[in-house]
């Protein structure tokens, strides 16, 4: 049954009405749905029936105490490094936008340097800092750098600094996205530079900052797996220790993969919620200018 059968032969005999129209039949779509379903079933069958996945082992070790403590370390590193990275990144972003040359150049150099060095290289470098600086002295106090730099401190320093360079760029772009008229209006009201930034510019910049920051957070979470090279017992290193003993490589990697996916999915949901909250008072994809010039009250 095709559409032409039911259409009137003379166009003026029936009044056309879009509300009564039927959707077209699209054979390509039907074919692709069938193909995808077949592939999905095959993959699931293969995963379920292949004994090498060792699903019972996966189930058994999902909540193993050492896996749990590894997961806790991964989450701890992610949160701490994101917080530090955001704080340092905000300062670096403000510095890059400073009208005072020396501060601006310093911050640009900082961001350029830390963004340019791979995080893995940074981790190994900070871990081996004692070769370069054997002792650290502040006034009369002095510490052996070998004592200060544990796998944990090296990981926190390396990941935070790496993260701060990316956050600096994200925050800088967010601040620059705020219309200069907003800054003019705030200053005209008599707000100080600080008030202008925190009351007017930053809240508006957040809408631009949050989506890429969410992706950064997720990237950092996965990036923490790098710390296994400096023997910090994060999620990945914890499962590596176990399979080093039991040789159950695949099921233990699956345990890590499943946990990473669970946390990333939760983070994505949180990110969506925050984005929706921030967009209150804004209409999606309508610019201020276009909207206000239309002059239609809602």
């Amino acid at each position: 049954m095709t559409a032409t059968d039911t259409l009137p032969t003379r166009p003026d005999s029936v009044r056309p009405d879009a509300a009564a129209a039927r959707p077209r039949f699209r054979p390509g779509r039907l074919a692709s749905v069938v193909a995808l379903a077949v592939v999905a079933v095959l993959v699931l069958l293969w995963a379920a029936t292949n004994p090498r996945f060792e699903w019972p082992v996966v189930a058994d070790l999902m909540f193993d105490p050492s896996v749990m403590s590894g997961l806790a370390m991964t989450l701890f590193l992610t949160v701490v490094c994101m917080a530090l990275g955001t704080a340092i990144g905000t300062a670096a972003a403000a510095g890059q936008l400073s009208d005072f040359g020396p501060v601006r150049w310093t911050c640009q150099l900082y961001v350029g340097l830390l963004r340019g060095v791979p995080p893995l290289v940074q981790l190994i470098f900070w871990f081996n800092l004692a070769y370069l600086v054997p002792r650290l002295s502040v006034g009369f106090a002095s510490w052996s750098v070998n004592d200060l730099i544990t796998p944990l401190t090296a990981a926190i320093i390396g990941l935070s600094l790496h993260e701060s360079a990316y956050m600096a760029e994200i925050i800088r772009a967010g601040i620059m996205s705020v219309d200069s008229g907003q800054r003019d209006a705030a200053r005209a009201m008599g707000y100080s530079g600080r008030q202008t930034f925190w009351k007017v510019v930053f809240p508006q910049a957040l809408r631009v900052i949050v989506p890429p920051s969410g992706s950064q957070f997720i990237a950092l979470l996965k990036g923490t797996s790098l710390v296994s090279v400096i023997t910090l017992t994060d999620l990945l290193y914890s499962v590596q220790i176990i399979y080093g003993r039991t040789y159950q490589v695949v099921p233990l990697l699956l345990v890590a993969v499943i946990w990473y996916l669970i946390v990333v999915t939760l983070l994505t949901l949180v990110q969506r919620r925050i984005e929706r909250r921030l967009s209150r008072g804004y209409d999606r994809s309508t610019s201020t200018r276009a909207r206000s010039l239309e002059g239609e009250p809602a």
Partner: protein
Amino acid sequence: MTQAMTQATAQAATEPVIRVHGLRKQYGDKVALDGVDLEVNEQEVVAVLGPSGSGKSTLVRCIHQLETIDGGAMFLDGELLGYEAHRGGFRTLSESRVCVQRRRMGMVFQQFNLFPHWTVLKNITEAAVSVHGQTRRQADERARHLLDRVGLSDKADAHPRHLSGGQQQRVAIARAVATRPRVVLFDEPTSALDPELVGEVLQVMKDLAETGMTMVVVTHEMEFARDVADRCVFMADGKVVEEGPSDRFFSDPRSERLRAFLSRYSGERRSPVGLQEVSS
């Protein structure tokens, strides 16, 4: 510059609200203001007219210290704006003292520049609370009174984006006067509006003028300049070409440039009835 400053101090008794002396402003090689003099007296409404690029917007932006200046001096109630005496000369004022000076002036922008993340009420009250130290209740009370005066008392809790351009600009005017400034500067307040929304904004400005507010209005609205302004200033190429009382200014322009400028506008004159309609 020094001479201008001493002169002004001597005349403090009869000091106008705003006084601008030999103001110069350059953007790179381009001279935006080339020795502008301006005085605005208490309760006076001064319209600044002129072709695009004549420097009239730059003038009000300089007075409000949104731009740095390259020469001359400006005073608010006899107080030097943006500079202070220092070791027999002058130096730029600290940012915090510039803020304090700005708080005594209000400004209305061409693009309204309301803060989109705040409600209409908060747009009006926030500076009164966090800058002028009023209580939230005082500020709210005044804001609601002002919203009533600009005819938007039902929009207090709306976000700016849900208002029309004319409504946004009326809120912006309420915001500018909420902290009881000495003078309100208008930078082409109706230029970004659809023609049918211009009247409501001009009416609010007219009402404001009738309360005795001192106003400097950069505008292309000739009707408004003639009917509401006490005095008109005509600028071209960064200079004041002619100024005078509004009635004389339009009926008897003296300079050739002003005559040419006015003749270009006489054809597209909006009916003065438009002003009256909105007020009812």
